[in-house]
Amino acid sequence: MGDLETVLKQAELFEGLSPEEFLALSSLCREKRYRANETITRQGAEGDSLFVVCEGFVEVSLSAIEPDTGPRAVVHLGRGQIFGEMALVDQGPRSATVRSITDDTVVQVIDHEAFTALCEKYHHLGYIVMRNMAADLSFKLRHRNLTGR
């Protein structure tokens, strides 16, 4: 696993897992690479995956509410950050559009079905990962409060 293990261990999503749990979750990951300005998720679309940023940056943006205005960028996410977790938790449509803003942006993708099955089989793993996702959502809200966007 090598470099993937190093990168994932620096992501808060995996914090607190036992070595066996870490291995089980990381085995669900599949890598995707993007050049700058490629759309990864689109607001309103169906979504069934969670993403972990391993290299590069992505921009999270929301559609315009007011007419005659463009989409509004709400945050840039770099190494170790997750996105797509809302659709994974509530199974609703994607809440934002996410695009890569640097060349060689690398993300790890975790599919909903396999992720849910793992959480149901290993309850401690499920608790830890859900706690980490809740903490990450809380951190994003704090960031949004600080930026006022």
Binding site: E15, F57, V75, G78, T102, F139, R142, H143, L146
Partner: protein, 70 residues
Amino acid sequence: MTPIYKVSYVVRGEDHPGAILNMEHAPRVGEHVHIGEREFTVVEVQELIPPRDEFHFLHATVRAGSGPLR
């Protein structure tokens, strides 16, 4: 355990959404950081919430450019 610093960067003085990223060291005032393709200078750093295990949660204010602090 190697500490990991999860940092909320807020950009002062322009319409920028800021960024969240993990760092291997805590940002320091006057240091230059890259967010996307741009370089910023750290103006202020503070703890946002208490640490949990090896994770530290910080808030840093930055401004555009890499010139001296004013």
